[in-house]
Symmetry: C2
Subunit: 121 residues, 2 copies
DNA sequence: CCGTATCCTACTGGATACTG
DNA sequence: CAGTATCCAGTAGGATACGG
């Protein structure tokens, strides 16, 4: 507890560390889609509207690297690669969903504030 | 509930909308510091290690714009400007803290996974 | 003290084309 | 099918200097 009241630095801040992990453009989408279960690369690509092949690969690599998803290769022809959430990846869903809840609840308030601010300038 | 099972698009995703809001480099720091109460610009600057004057101003503007912080000018000489969380801003603290909790709990696991991945390549 | 203006760098992410 | 390689545009953010 008291450890969190040290001087606020940018590095070594756990919140920022998660946000760097999940704050990019596609990570949460991928995690959200994989929530339903394992999925192969091409299906993942189709499920996530607008993602490029490059970014799908890159984001999956990052998530794999951090132990949030697994990558399973089946060396058939053509090859088949399946991705799934690890247990760790699944635990991430809870705080993500809390944030989602907050977002949906307060989206109108934010939009109103934003409009008011813009009108006042 | 079922509304969240529409096709997953990138725009109109509430989670991404919050992450765009707090996923930048400094927003969470500012919100975290303002948690303790109102603070003036220069003190805020000193409290947040490494932030530039430019980014502090910009981030505060963004938070103000979205109704998360208030900006109170006292026209003395020299001028004094105080920032504080709005009620809306304070409600954001809860999901943020949930994320922080997750981060602290699972940081070791992520670091281990990251090291293993790097060693394996 | 509290900003704004300018300039500059680095990184993110898209488009496209090419391999096993 | 599942990538990798290249190139390129947009933007976030730092440094610095100046103004009210």
């Amino acid at each position: 507890m008291s450890a969190r009241h040290r001087k606020m630095t940018h590095e070594d801040c756990p919140v920022r560390e998660v946000l760097s992990r999940v704050g990019d453009k596609w990570s949460v989408h991928i995690v959200a889609v994989l929530r339903e279960g394992s999925m192969r690369f091409s299906d993942l690509r189709r499920s996530i509207d607008g993602i490029s092949q490059r970014m799908l690969t890159r984001t999956l690599r990052g998530l794999e690297r951090d132990g949030l998803v697994t990558r399973t290769v089946t060396p058939t022809t053509p090859p088949r690669v399946d991705y799934a959430l690890t247990p760790l990846g699944r635990t991430l869903l809870e705080p993500i969903m809390a944030l989602a809840e907050w977002a949906e609840t307060n989206r109108p308030a934010i939009h109103t504030a934003r409009r008011r601010y813009n009108d006042a300038t």
